[in-house]
C-alpha cells in the first residue's frame, strides 16, 4: 500500500511537470508527443510469469570506467544479477531520448526504496556515449543523485577511457551512433542514436530490449518478475540448490543399443534444453582428488579466471578457420571429452582424420600428449589442432591471434585472467591449458575402496577384477598404480599390434553394412575402397623418431573414466571394453615389433567379465559437474 501511495504522489508531481514540458514544447517549434514511459502503461500488461522471455543473444562486453576511475569489464560492472543497461550522453536534449530513460530508471530506483525484490534483483546501469565529456569525475556527479536520497538499490554510471574502447561495445549492442553534422559537414554536439535499453540476465544474455514505445517501469518490473518466476532464481541465493537438481545427460543423445535387432525402437533422447545453471567448479575439483596426484596449479591466484577463459575458448567455434569447429566438437564434454560415435575424428569441412580423439579427463597429469607422444605441454599442444589443415584449419598463429582479438568478448576475459588484455600465443596456451588441467576426475568407486579404505565400496566381482588387473592379466604392468595415487598409465610408447593391423593389406573381400535395424547387407570391399579415401598406414612413434624400432608404437593411455571414453585404441577400432579385454586376452596382433608384455592371457569368460566390471569402477565422482560446467557455458552470439 505504501508503494502505491508513493507511486500516486510521484505521478501527480510528474504529471504537473509533464504538462509544463508539453506546454513549453507546444510553444516552441518542436512540439512532440511524450513517450508512454512518462505516464500510464500503453496497453494492458500480461501478468508476470504468464509469458516467457527467451534469450535474444549474448550481451556484449568491453572495458569501461567506473565513477571512481577504475577499469573493469562491462560484464563485471553489470554485476552477478539482472541488470538494465542504457546508454546516455550529456547533450541529449530529446525529451523522448536520454531524459525518458532517466525518468523510467528513476521510477524503478524510487520503487526500490520500498520493494526489496526489485532492489535485490535488478541493477540499473547507464553507460555514457561521450567519454570526452563524461569523465569519471563527471559521472560521479550523476551518481550523487542517489547517494543523498533514494539510496537503496543501485544505479551505476559508467564511462569509457576513449572512443576506441567504446566503439566495440556500441557495435556489440547495435548502437549505431552518429554525430549530427551541420550543413557544411562540421560536427555538432548532438549524437544520433536509437534509444534501446537492455534487460540482461545473470548469464549475460539479453532477455528484452526496450525501445521508446515500450520503455516503461511497469513493463520492466513485470519482465523481471517473469524471469524470476520462471525458475530463474537469483543465482546468489540458490546456486547450490539449482545445481543439485539439474540432470546432466552423458553419452551421445542417439542411443543405439540393440540397433542390430529388427525390433529396435529408438530410445534417443531429445537434446535437452540446457538449464544454464552455474555451480562452483572449484569445490568439485578439490573434492574429487582422491587417488590423483597433487594438483600442479593450485597456487595460481588467477586460476579460476584462466579456467573460465580457457573453457570459453575451448567451446568457441570461431577458433576454426570457417567458424564451424570448436575443440569441444571432437572432445565432446558429455561424451567423455572424446567422441563416442566416431572411431576417428572428422575435422573442418568433414575432413577425415587418422586417429581417435583422446579423452581429456586427467590430461593435466600426462607427461606426453597425442597418441604418438610428440608434445609434452598442454599450452603448446593446442596449436597443433588449431593449425592442422584437417582439424581446425587455421592458416597461421597470427591469424588465430587476430581473430580472437577481433571478438569483443575476449579482451576483458584476458584482462581478468592475466592482468592485461594483450592476447598472445602464450596467454591463449596458458588459458586452454588451465582449463584442460582442471578436468581432473578422481574419487572413483575404486579410489574410495582402494585409497579411501571403504571396504564396502566394492562388489566381489569388482574385487576379483582388480585381482586379475594386478595379477594374472598383468594390465598393471603398463597401466600402473602408485602407493598413494594411480593414473593407470606409465605413459610409455608401446606396440600392441593395432597400428600394425592397419598397415597390412586388407584381406576381407566383403564388408557387412547395416542399413536399418536388423537389416544387413554384404558389400564388396572393392566398392567401399572406390568411394572412400585410402587408409593411410599409421606408424605411430616412428613418425616422430624415424627409428624403425618405433613403428606402430602408441602411448599407453590412462584408464580413468575409461567406461565413458569409447571407442578404444588410438584409431577407435574397438567399440567396447569387453572387446578390448578380449583383444588383450588374445595377445594383441602378432607382429615383429610386438611389445614383449603383450601375451595371451588365457582368461575365462568369467574373468573377462570381472575385469570389465573392474574397469567400470574407474569413473570419477565429478564427471557430471565437469560436463555441466562446459555444457552450461554459452559462447558466441547465439542464445538458447
Amino acid at each position: 500500500m505504501k508503494k502505491l501511495a508513493l507511486k500516486t504522489s510521484s505521478f501527480i508531481t510528474s504529471s504537473l511537470f509533464l504538462s509544463l514540458i508539453i506546454s513549453i514544447h507546444v510553444g516552441s517549434a518542436i512540439a512532440q508527443r511524450l513517450a508512454p514511459g512518462y505516464g500510464d502503461t500503453p496497453f494492458l500488461l500480461p501478468d508476470p510469469g504468464t509469458y516467457s522471455l527467451p534469450s535474444l543473444g549474448m550481451a556484449g562486453d568491453g572495458m569501461v570506467l567506473t565513477d571512481s576511475g577504475e577499469t573493469v569489464s562491462l560484464h563485471s560492472a553489470l554485476g552477478g544479477n539482472y541488470a538494465l543497461l542504457s546508454f546516455m550522453y550529456a547533450s541529449c536534449a530529446d525529451v523522448n531520448g536520454c531524459p525518458l530513460t532517466a525518468y523510467v530508471f528513476y521510477q524503478l530506483k524510487r520503487n526500490m526504496q520500498v520493494d526489496s525484490i526489485l532492489a535485490d534483483n535488478l541493477k540499473l546501469v547507464s553507460l555514457s556515449f561521450d567519454p570526452a565529456r563524461d569523465t569519471p569525475s563527471v559521472i560521479q556527479k550523476y551518481a550523487a543523485n542517489f547517494s543523498i536520497t533514494n539510496s537503496t538499490g543501485s544505479w551505476d554510471f559508467l564511462t569509457s577511457s576513449s572512443e576506441t574502447e567504446l566503439i566495440p561495445i556500441l557495435e556489440a549492442y547495435n548502437q549505431d551512433v552518429q554525430r549530427k553534422r551541420f550543413i557544411d559537414g562540421s560536427n555538432t554536439e548532438e549524437l544520433i542514436h536509437i534509444l534501446r535499453v537492455f534487460l540482461i540476465d545473470p548469464k549475460k544474455r539479453i532477455r528484452n530490449i526496450y525501445s521508446v514505445p515500450y520503455l516503461h517501469s511497469e513493463i520492466i518490473y513485470r519482465d523481471l518478475l517473469t524471469l524470476l518466476k520462471n525458475g530463474e532464481i537469483s543465482p546468489e541465493k540458490s546456486r547450490e540448490e539449482m545445481f543439485l537438481t539439474q540432470s546432466t545427460q552423458l553419452g551421445p543423445g542417439d542411443v543405439r543399443e540393440g540397433y542390430e535387432n529388427k525390433n529396435f525402437k529408438s530410445q534417443s533422447n531429445p537434446l535437452k534444453r540446457k538449464n544454464n545453471l552455474t555451480h562452483s567448479p572449484k569445490t568439485t575439483r578439490t573434492q574429487s582428488n582422491l587417488g590423483l596426484p597433487p594438483h600442479r596449479l593450485d597456487r595460481d591466484l588467477k586460476l579460476e579466471e584462466k579456467i573460465y577463459l580457457g573453457r570459453r575458448l575451448f567451446l568457441d567455434r570461431r577458433l576454426s578457420l570457417n567458424n564451424t569447429m570448436s575443440c569441444a566438437m571432437c572432445h565432446i564434454p558429455e561424451q567423455g571429452f572424446t567422441n563416442n560415435e566416431l572411431a576417428t575424428s572428422v575435422g573442418i569441412e568433414g575432413r577425415t582424420l587418422n586417429r581417435n580423439a583422446p579423452s581429456l579427463f586427467n590430461v593435466g597429469f600426462s607427461p606426453n600428449l597425442f597418441h604418438d607422444g610428440r608434445e609434452d605441454s598442454l599450452s603448446q599442444q593446442i596449436w597443433s589442432p588449431l593449425l592442422d589443415k584437417n582439424e581446425m584449419g587455421n592458416p597461421s598463429v597470427g591469424y588465430v591471434l587476430n581473430k580472437i582479438r577481433s571478438i569483443p568478448d575476449y579482451p576483458p576475459l584476458f584482462f581478468s585472467a592475466f592482468g592485461d588484455s594483450k592476447i598472445s600465443m602464450e596467454a591463449i596456451g596458458d588459458a586452454l591449458a588451465s582449463y584442460q588441467n582442471s578436468l581432473n576426475s578422481g574419487s572413483s568407486l575404486f579410489d574410495r575402496w582402494y585409497f579411501g579404505k571403504e571396504v564396502d565400496a566394492f562388489q566381489p566381482n569388482q574385487k576379483r577384477g582388480f585381482a586379475l588387473f594386478v595379477g594374472k592379466a598383468g594390465c598393471a604392468s603398463c597401466h600402473v598404480l602408485g602407493k598413494e595415487d594411480a593414473l593407470f598409465s606409465d605413459y610409455k610408447m608401446r606396440n600392441t599390434g593395432v597400428g600394425y593391423l592397419r598397415s597390412i593389406p586388407h584381406k576381407q573381400k566383403k564388408q557387412t553394412v547395416q542399413l536399418a535395424p536388423g537389416v544387413f547387407t554384404e558389400v564388396d570391399y572393392g566398392i567401399i575402397k572406390s568411394v572412400s579415401g585410402p587408409i593411410k598406414p599409421d606408424l605411430g612413434l616412428y613418425a616422430i623418431t624415424q627409428n624403425p624400432e618405433d613403428r606402430w608404437k602408441f602411448r599407453t593411455p590412462t584408464l580413468r573414466n575409461i567406461a565413458l571414453t569409447s571407442p578404444y585404441m588410438h584409431d577407435g577400432s574397438i567399440s567396447t571394453l569387453k572387446e578390448v579385454v578380449e583383444f588383450y586376452n588374445g595377445g594383441g596382433i602378432s607382429n615383429p615389433l610386438l611389445d614383449p608384455l603383450i601375451q595371451p592371457l588365457n582368461l575365462t569368460q568369467q574373468e573377462i567379465s570381472d575385469l570389465t566390471s573392474f574397469l567400470d569402477t574407474l569413473t570419477g565422482s565429478n564427471v557430471r559437474e565437469l560436463v555441466a560446467e562446459a555444457t552450461n557455458e554459452v559462447v558466441g552470439d547465439v542464445g538458447i
Binding site: 504522489s9 508531481t13 547533450s91 530513460t101 532517466a102 543523485n145 543523498i148 536520497t149 555538432t188 548532438e190
Partner: protein, 190 residues
Amino acid sequence: MTTSKGPECLMKKLAFICFLAVFSFSTLAEEKLVDHLGKPFSVDQLKGKVVLLIIGFTNCEDICPTEMARASIALSKMKEDIRLVKPIFLTVDPERDSPEVIAKYLKNFHPSFTGISGDSETLTELVNHYGVSPKRERHHGENQQINHGYSTFILNTLGEIEVAVLPGLPPSHLSELLFKMTEENSEIRI
C-alpha cells in the same frame, strides 16, 4: 548525510581549496557580472548557501525551459526552506540575454531565481569552471541555439558541484535533494 564517509571529509577539504580558487577568480570577475535587476554580482554571493544552478539561455528551445520548469516546481515544494537555497540562472548567451531580457524570462518561473549575465568572456570562463562548454550552432537562423549539455547542478556551501541532476528525473527528486542538502549544511547563513 546518508552517505557520510571518511573520504568525504578529505573531499570537502579539497573542495575548500578549489573554492578558494573560485573565490580569487570571483574577485576578478566581480566588476563584470550583473544580476537580472542590474546589480553587480560576484560569485562569492553564492558562498554559504546551497545553490541550485541552471546554466542556459532564454532563447533555448530544448532543455532549459523544461529544466527551469522542473526547478520551479521543486522550489515551490520547499516552502519556507526556500530561504536556505539560492537558485541561479546563468546565461551562456550574454549578447541576447541582457538583465532586462532575463528578468522578463524569469517571470515565468519561481520568483526566487536570480539571473546572471555580464561580460561574455567572464561568463564563458565561469561556465567552463562548472564543466559546461557551450557551443553555438553554426547556422544563423532567426533563433540561434547554443548547445550546452546537461546543466542543472546543485552546489554545496563551498561552491563545489555536489550533484549533476539528470534531465528526466521528476521535480520531487530535485526538491528531495535540496532538502537533504540544506539539512546537512546547518551552518547555512540566512
